[in-house]
Amino acid sequence: MKYDTGSCRILEKQQLTVDIYDVTVDAGKLALLAKPGQFVHVLVPGHTLRRPISICGIDRAANTLRLVFQVRGEGTAQLAALNCGDSIDLLAPLGRGFSLGNTGRKVLFVGGGIGVPPLLEAAKPFGENAAVVLGFRSREAVILKEDFEQNGNRVQIATDDGSLGHHGLVTDCMEALEAEHFAFEEVFACGPAPMLKAVIRAAERLGVPCQVSMEQRMACGVGACLGCAVKLRREDGGEYYGHVCKDGPVFRARDIVWED
């Protein structure tokens, strides 16, 4: 079995910022199947479509999954109103996560805003071999900094307003790492499209491969409805629509064709 549905009890709930919540659920066997970078599709009672949320943490000993999400609309607001002891119905684990490769290599993780959570579990096995650059609007929006530090990762923060860490863009920090001769061999990124594009350009300039986690509106979550299209490039240069839920959400940057 690759995925299934399950009713998962909320064991822990914390509010991380004004609109970001952190929940840990008892996912039973679904937790054993999960890999970093995959996602869960959450049923919101009364709604036709489930909501995709990345897997932020996996604890195979405790059979738990950790989800960190931002309130963006009705569905996520409804999820945020749940408490410990309540259950949520998950369809999980879905999609293709990060290909971590040799975790003895030096690598770089770059996350922006609510794109940070899917990187946490992927960065864990790299320990101090991973530099992690996290970009946020301001100090108040910073999430998961301590969690990456607990991974043993080298964490840097960039904020738009300079209220914490570097005043500027995550790509500035990439350049600084390069200047310090932290020779990372691969980049893993998730965040808003403009940030991803800038990170991909920077990685290209340095000649290192890059994996990025993408978002698209979804219906089935398993690859059946063809709803979550993303334009991809074939080896022969031809273009076609792949699907975020099945072919992704993590893609090799060089395979993605950015539209608009």
Binding site: Q216, C220, G221, G223, C225, L226, G227, Y241, K246
Partner: protein, 303 residues
Amino acid sequence: MADLKVTIAGVPFQNPLIAASGTFGFGREYAEFYPLSTLGGISCKGITLAERPGNPPPRVTETPGGMLNAVGLQNPGVDHFIKEDLPWLQKQGTVVIANIAGNTPEDYCRMAEKLSYTAVDMVELNISCPNVKQGGVQFGTSCAGVEDITAQVRRFCKKPLMVKLSPNVSDIGEIAAAAESAGADAISMINTLTGMRIDIRTRRPVLRNNTGGLSGPALLPIAVRMVWQAAQRVKIPIVGMGGISKWEDAVELLLAGASALQIGTVFFTDPYAPVKILDGLNQYLDRSGFSSVSDLTGRVCPW
């Protein structure tokens, strides 16, 4: 346990629940949850003569009580379907229905001809896809159009032929009668209703295609009404669909006049929906003293 078997256009189904075209792909993704023989049949993703890339994203979004889609018939083409998907599908112990769409009557005829010499059990003529400029919907919205395309395809189609009707019409009864008189063996209905949503922050339509097809629970009362109206005009069996999300909805559509049912959008909410709907249907039949599901067909007592 009541008898859930139904026969549509000579094709036996082990139960009346069929996966609706476009919501179930070619079955592989849902075979992770249960054997596909759980379903009476599968109507495959709509196929066209040549491969189609589909529309740019976003292609789906939620609506009150349902969703919009504008996938745009992304599919690998009829030959790929016959070679790569059908051999696996025909081994799953369920009825396989090929759903075909085209730009021209010739496209439909060539596909029907190709499929006539394969293992598919039935052909479903999609003359109602609202999401591509020439998705067949131009054939599906007038009586003359429906009659013409059905009659042409009939000549090439050696398989039982089911015509899928669009709800985007003013008199569904007349359209159903046109399909029957042109030689359809069955009717399936309804396809999606055309809808639209706008992101009020960007003032852009949510879907890249601007408009899309509305499906899900919001469609149920329209489907019930249309199946009821069509059932009064035709003798051929009607496969009802549109917004079924629980067994009670299934019973309603049967009572309105459907002989079998398709379910689509509910898979996205709950992949196990068919198991639950069949269970509820069975219990309802037993409780109400019906020995066979086909006893429900058209048994509404209108005022």
